[in-house]
């Protein structure tokens, strides 16, 4: 076999009080696609930072082309042909595509003056290499996420790149955009460039990679050709135990008055003529491509979008003109982007969980801190939020725990209907299973009706009794989760394009 492009031998990296990497061996060969899997804090980000020269390591050797390198900093990494595309792409939104592409080269040329024609030429070259057409004079801020990612990739390939590292590249992409990304990645590979993927999404790892390496608690626990892996094996390696794949069974009465009943709901052009019933204890999945109107539907049910049509709760007609109306009626909504819409990052957990049920912790016009703390403790234990105390800021929690805070907050309002939009986006596997179990318990035991909006098909199959597919503002399919297969749903979603 050829010499590895980059190799780590028994590399250990310590942070105060922990070993982020514990005697790890790792290799990447030219022109191979490797996936790095692992939960948050498993050491995969540390590994990327060592390979890209950002972190120093405490023990072990780093070899480039078979030769040990003593002082491997960011410049050495770039000189060795290693480029990283971070999740935020590190682009300049106010500058043009051409300038974003050309900056690296212009900087390395060390010129004092900039020639716009030269800049445009460099940009055009970079895009031509990927065979994509993006307006060179457009400002990057006006591009879609997928196009911005392509600009970032094109920029990374401007230098003599031999290894491209991509951190969670598919998180913000729709299915079709993921396909386009993968075909670009394969083209890059055909040019002899190795690609290292870091991803949470197992399906994608299995689709694109040739080799998978799984990390857990700073150690490499599994490694092998992708053909030897399936989702269950990756999950087991990542978490150290099997994640149960129990499903949500609902044996309620479809003849009873539905908990939530929607007739002829329309939101502008985005949602048209939706009929929908959610019964007590049901978890109904809702999927569809981006722009299918699913988020608008959720927002309308939460009083955030002006709408027409009938919405009934336990048979009583509701008027949902504002969020306050929806909360008063017993409807709770966990938004897609918990960072910007759901949490007060600089505030302690206790204040975060009480935010929607503040009247339960007041005495007259004042906050009753004893009652507030008692409620907060209850949510922390109910939702199994991993925190030493309720005074920790929400921003200090992991993604999974943050999501539990948001869900737990709504449980304090004793909702009748819970709408979850992307409930486990960016949450790692172990935490995800815990959140799922909690939601299923709630539905089964309290008669809560749940509408779960998600792109994660296995998540829907595991947790829902029914799955609805939405397209161009209408519900086009209703599937029984007991009998439907994952591939079937993927196929139907692809068919909707």
């Amino acid at each position: 076999m050829a010499e590895p492009l980059i190799e780590l031998r028994a590399v250990t990296k310590r942070f105060p009080g922990m070993k982020a990497l514990d005697s790890v061996d790792f290799q990447i060969f030219p022109a191979e696609i490797v996936c790095l899997a692992g939960e948050n804090g498993s050491g995969k980000s540390t590994l990327i930072k060592i390979v890209s020269g950002i972190y120093d390591f405490d023990e072990g050797d780093l070899l480039v082309d078979g030769k040990p390198v003593a002082d491997f900093g960011p410049r050495a990494a770039i000189a060795a042909g290693i480029q990283v595309i971070y999740q935020d792409f590190s682009l300049f939104p106010s500058l043009t595509v051409a300038e974003n592409l050309a900056l690296n080269r212009l900087l390395s040329e060390g010129k004092t003056f900039v020639d716009p024609a030269h800049r445009r030429r460099l940009g055009a070259e970079a895009l031509a290499r990927l065979d994509v057409a993006i307006d060179l004079e457009a400002t990057v801020g006006t591009l879609s996420t997928a196009d911005r990612q392509i600009v970032a990739i094109a920029r990374a390939l401007m230098s003599d790149t031999r290894l491209l590292i991509m951190d969670e590249p598919t998180t913000a992409l729709t299915g079709r955009e993921v396909d386009r990304l993968f075909s670009i990645v394969r083209e890059i590979q055909a040019k002899g460039i190795a690609v290292l993927f870091v991803s949470h999404k197992m399906r994608e790892m299995l689709e694109i990679s040739e080799r998978i390496t799984v990390f857990r608690n700073g150690r490499k626990v599994e490694e092998g050709p992708t053909g030897e892996f399936n989702e269950a094996r990756i999950t087991r390696a990542m978490t150290g135990h099997d994640i149960g794949h129990e499903r949500h069974v609902w044996a309620g009465d479809t003849e009873a008055v539905p908990r939530l009943s929607v007739r002829g709901l329309a939101v502008g052009e985005a949602v048209r003529g939706i009929d929908l019933d959610l019964h007590r204890g049901e978890i109904v999945g809702l999927s569809g491509l981006l722009g299918s109107g699913r988020t608008e539907l959720a927002m309308a049910l939460f009083g955030m979008e002006p709408h027409s049509g009938d919405i009934r709760l336990d048979g009583a007609l509701l008027r949902l003109a504002s969020v306050q109306d929806a909360v008063a009626a017993g409807i709770a909504y966990v938004p897609e982007d918990r960072l910007s819409e759901g949490l007060f990052m600089q505030q302690p957990i206790a204040r975060n969980v009480i935010a929607s049920a503040i009247s339960r912790a007041t005495r007259g016009p004042f906050l009753d801190s004893d009652r507030l703390n008692a409620l907060a403790e209850q949510v922390v234990s109910d939702m199994r939020i991993a925190t030493p105390d309720i005074d920790k800021h929400a921003g200090q929690l992991s993604g999974g725990n943050q999501q539990r805070v948001v869900i737990g907050r709504w449980l304090l309002t004793n909702p009748k209907v819970l709408i979850l939009n992307g409930p486990t986006v960016g949450v790692d596997v172990g935490s995800k299973a815990e959140i799922h179990r909690r939601i299923r318990d709630l539905a089964a035991n309290t008669g809560l009706a749940v509408l779960m909006i998600s792109d994660d098909v296995p998540e829907l199959i595991q947790n829902c009794n029914r799955i609805l597919l939405m397209h161009r503002g209408a519900i086009v399919d209703c599937l029984d989760a007991r009998s439907v297969e994952e591939d079937d749903i993927h196929g139907r979603l692809k068919g909707l394009r």
Partner: protein, 323 residues
Amino acid sequence: MTAVSKLLRRSETAVLAILLVVMIVIGVINPAFWQADNLFNLLRANVVIGIMALSVLTVMISGGIDLSFPAFAVAAMYLTVIAMNAAGYQGVVLPFIGATLIGLLCGLANAFFIHTFRMIPMIVTLGSASVVRGLLLGLVGTSIINIDRMPPSLIAFGSSTVDIGSSKLSLMIFIYLGIALLMWVFLTRTMAGRAVFAYGDDAESAKRVGFNTRRTVYLVYGLAGALAGFAGLLHASMIWLANPRDFVGYELDVIAAVVLGGASIFGGRGSVFGTILGVFMLTLIKNSLIIMHIDNTWQGVVVGCVIVIATALTAWRDRKALV
């Protein structure tokens, strides 16, 4: 996108259009507006505010804000004039170099605090402005240097004109336009200038791409201070007076002009041409208010409204661009 629609989308085009409308309206109300004397006067009033606006523009593109330039300008002006009087020196070039250097040093002090301690530019420049003004009045003096004590060389320089027809156009305008041209070259055609845009757009990314962000911060605030110092002495030369309490309230006027010219207070956007237009618009508005005999206090109201409306428009534009 066609070249025409691109041109229409630029904020400079909007400012230019509004400017023409305002000028036509004023011209209708008072035809004397279009007389060369009045227009030349108006241009002359652009010079000092314009140079200061160019310094603030650079800071704003870098994502910061500068509230210290009036203080630096007054310090550079007053110290230089006092030094000239003390030495009995009669010249022009050396004093301007001196004033520029004083401004530069003050600006570098701003940069030191902003970069080393990662402090918010607004707080640093607010503080340094207060310190510099206080030191100047406390240690150097509080008396106004009148025309009879002003160095004649400066007065002669500040009042130099060129005859166009029967009117005289101040040569200072060409200094302003020359500086503007240099700033345009710097901001759009040099890597150091592009670094200012990149830094203002996303400082972390700028670092990752390989820009020396420390150098950028020092360059931006050093340049801002230097321009302020230069503008300060030029101001004294043009009004034949050095007042150590001068330039109070210039912060608002200059920032209003820069925002009016389409620069984003969040950094990453702004242009020299837009700023020149913004400055012209602001002086035009203030000039018209004076001609219409509107009280000084009401000018503040107008400038305040201009800054809020212009900022609202740019914020609205930025949000629309994102959707």
